[in-house]
């Protein structure tokens, strides 16, 4: 019995480790080879860089030939501003929808949830027309507005479920004391939403940071490209220069991996907690 259990546990771990290798292998391979000289990349792709094969020539090329820092800055601005406003507006709307009963509140909630399933991408033709008319074409503002509209439905859905779990007594007590509604939201409810923020952030940040479509459609100059589009164009241009390509890929991978590993506990807790059953 005991032996059988050991054998089974061993088999389970063997499967899980094999899949881990499949999930990590390609990423490790790219990052590892980005630190190697060209002949080592082709000569011994599977060995890590050592003192004779170590080289940063790819990175030097990326820094010289692309506006990688501008792209990073743009991505940071777009992601942070969009996420902040999605959280703020989303929490306010979720609060109003779950707290105040009014005619049409169910219809409004349904209207706001259309965007969970229907991708905003399908409206791109009209979005581009609108942005051109408004003079916002090729600006980060255009991206931010689209990403807020894209992120709100899911944020409102998750935050509404969360707000409904907050005990009613809290706001009731405040109301009896005559505290105005706006202060109840900003001073009593908003601080309690902190645990839900991780979940909302996952659903907001990742698609924005990784998006290729809207930067491709809405931005045309180097000064407004985001990291995903910038790297994509750089890769297309230097596809035969393996050092640069591997370095550019690694520079796009590493920040995401570092942030992910730091926050993975909260992130997975957010993903697996009640909100998305």
């Amino acid at each position: 019995m005991f032996l059988e259990q050991r054998a089974r546990s061993f088999a389970v771990h063997a499967v899980l480790i094999a899949y881990s290798a499949l999930a990590l292998g390609p990423i490790l391979l790219v990052v590892m080879n980005s630190f190697k000289a060209r002949n080592a990349i082709f000569g011994s792709p599977l060995s890590p860089p050592d003192s004779s094969t170590f080289s940063l020539v790819g990175y030097a090329k990326v820094f010289r030939a692309s506006h990688i820092f501008v792209y990073f800055e743009n991505s940071l601005i777009v992601t942070i501003v969009s996420m902040g406003l999605v959280l703020l507006f989303g929490a306010m709307a979720a609060w109003a929808l779950s707290e105040y009963r009014f005619r049409g509140s169910t219809a409004l909630a349904l209207f706001l949830s259309i965007g969970i399933m229907v991708p905003i991408r399908l409206g791109s033709v009209a979005i581009l027309n609108m942005m051109r008319t408004a003079g916002l074409n090729d600006t980060l503002t255009a991206l931010i507005l689209v990403y807020i509209a894209q992120g709100l439905p899911m944020a409102i859905f998750i935050l509404s479920e969360f707000i409904q779990q907050i005990p009613k007594d809290l706001r009731d007590a405040a109301r009896c004391d005559g505290v105005p509604e706006t202060r109840i939201f900003f001073e009593v409810i908003a601080p309690l939403l902190r645990p839900a923020i991780a979940t909302v952030a996952v659903f907001t940040i990742v698609p924005i940071w990784n998006d290729l479509w809207f930067p491709l459609i809405l931005t045309s100059s180097d000064s407004t490209h985001t990291i995903t589009l910038g790297v994509q164009q750089f890769l297309g241009q230097y596809i035969t220069d393996w050092n640069s390509v591997l370095a550019a890929l690694s520079m796009a991978i590493l920040p995401v991996v570092v942030i992910y590993v730091i926050f993975s506990r909260q992130l997975i807790a957010g993903l697996t907690s009640g909100a998305v059953k």
Binding site: L16, I27, V118, P119, N210, L212, L249
Partner: protein, 316 residues
Amino acid sequence: MAEPVPQVVAQMPKAKLIGLLALFLGPSVLIYTAFSIYPLLATMQLATFTGESGGGVHFVGLANFRTLLTDALWSAPFWNALKNNMIFFAIHMAVQNPIGIALAGLLSLPGLKLKGFYRTVFFLPTMLSVVIVGFSWNLILSPLWGVAKGALTAVGLGSWFAPWLGLESTALVTLALMSVWQFVGIPMMLIYAALLNIPDELVDAARVDGLGQFRIFFHIKLPLVLPTIGLVSVLTFVGNFNAFDLIYSVKGALAGPNFASDILGTFFYRTFFGNQLQLGNPTMGAAVATVMFFIILVGVCLYLFVVQRRMRRYTF
């Protein structure tokens, strides 16, 4: 005892309630309507117009759709893209979701060590940009680098290697499997969460009755997470019929070789934005987007009215 508080809200003067609603709901409703719902409707409207040489547009009713579905110049690439998209989706359903379920099942085994490590690793590719994943696999599968060939040779399957991404017969399947590799974390995580929500009493009762872990999973746990599998399927459907980034990064807007990997997303982009072979055509692009919208709508409605209605939701 009377509840005093809901009355505070109920008795609020109407003007005050409207003011509060405008304050709290205003920003969301405004931005969402202006940049999500309105563009969708405007796109559908634009699909019933056609461009003039002078830059204006005039109303043509459903002529664009007739062109798209019947004119050989348009319909051949459209049906090709739709067919490829169906294959793309079928591969995800057949490979991504079973692997996701299996991994979730293993992770939810009681007393498993290193659970957190595995979870983190399995979900990592999902966090990366599709562009990065596409290019990385492109390099790995490239005959120039020879990593994939070397790996196959090491296990004695060297003769199986072919430049899969470059062949008409295998490009689409290879791209779909790259996408599966990246997104398997989503079904895994959602099903894992659903499995954790199953009360221990149910599983314990089955164990007392002498069922092994394997049978407990298939007879007790799996039926209970069917609603989540339904949700995963509809999310996969929407994601696949809206996919673009991967094919564009690896194969470019022309989705080669010879359009073998063309799906609706790349077809829409080419139609709307133009490419080496043709000028962009916003009104036909709008028509393609409208057709994509209805395809996604059919999928979502099937889920909402057939799958979700039929399945009993278990709440614990």
